[in-house]
Amino acid sequence: MSTWTESDEPTLRWLRDQGSSFLPETWNLQLGLRQSVELAAEVPGLDSEQMDRALTRLHEHGLIDGRRQETTGYASWSGLRITARGMQVLGEWPDLDQLTSAVGMKMLLDELAKSAADTEDQGALRRMVGVIGEVGEGVALNALNTAAGDLGGEVGGD
């Protein structure tokens, strides 16, 4: 368990599940600090101060956008939204630059290996990852282009 899994990722997922903070109605988020700390209704297991810190970290990482104002007892967030980077981190948006690279291919095959039920299939896919590393990015992308070209369309490689 970590700050990310216990606090920041649940907060990011909570924000994803909200509608726009501007339309059809504008909403702000007010979180109690210090003497006004209370359990955060939005994310189970967090209090309002922990949630404010989670939002601050997410903002610093560029995963959310919004404006924070602080008074004696409260932090007020307005204009909250998840950024494109945040959507990529949550697996909601692809990172096309990364995915059409040799590293992306290796990550994809690794991901598929994780979900393969048969250990021999897992091993075969992991060996394929190893071979991509051994032949190098140029050869791997050429092989991918040849494979795709044979099937009617060039992909990746630039």
Partner: protein, 165 residues
């Protein structure tokens, strides 16, 4: 606040990609109109031919702007409402629209299986057998499952870049 409807498609496929596609489709009409209006009674998303509400379009346009795929000047109004002026796809946005079909082809079971067979030319006979097994496995997968795995892999790369688990 309201809950956003969720389904099995990623937000990219359900909202972002259709927004990019409709901005191309409606490019002329948008230029003629001069702006896109979102908010009560405006139904800007519907005008663009999208099956999402104006709030989701508002956020999605900002996310597309985060990556430099679209450009606009924004005026916010009480009401609330939003005027997107000079809204258009950038060169990068057009490139992404071109890349997406390439990505779909790249992540198809047939392409990945053929890729494994191509790689088999470079390895020892023992490894060749394993790559042929990999090809067989990849060919048996549904394209949707591979696409989801590809997006999950992208998510992991984004997390790695930020030092997140």
């Amino acid at each position: 606040m309201k809950s956003v409807a969720t389904n099995t498609a990623t937000h990219w496929e359900a909202a972002a990609l259709p927004v990019l596609q409709q901005l191309v489709e409606k490019e002329g009409a948008l230029r003629e109109r001069g702006l896109l209006q979102l908010g009560l009674g405006q139904e800007g998303a519907k005008w663009l031919g999208l099956d999402i509400d104006d709030g989701e379009l508002f956020d999605t346009l900002h996310q597309l702007q985060d990556l430099g795929y679209v450009s606009f000047n924004l005026t916010l109004e009480s009401g609330p409402g939003a005027l997107f002026l000079d809204l258009h796809l950038t060169g990068r946005g057009l490139q992404v629209l071109g890349e997406w079909p390439r990505f779909e082809a790249w992540s198809s079971p047939a392409t990945l299986a053929a890729f494994a067979e191509q790689l088999a030319q470079f390895v020892s006979p023992d490894d060749r057998t394993r790559l042929e097994r990999a090809a067989q496995y990849l060919r048996s997968q549904a394209s949707g499952a591979i696409k989801r795995a590809a997006i999950a892999a992208g998510s992991q790369m984004a997390r790695n870049a930020l030092g997140l688990p």
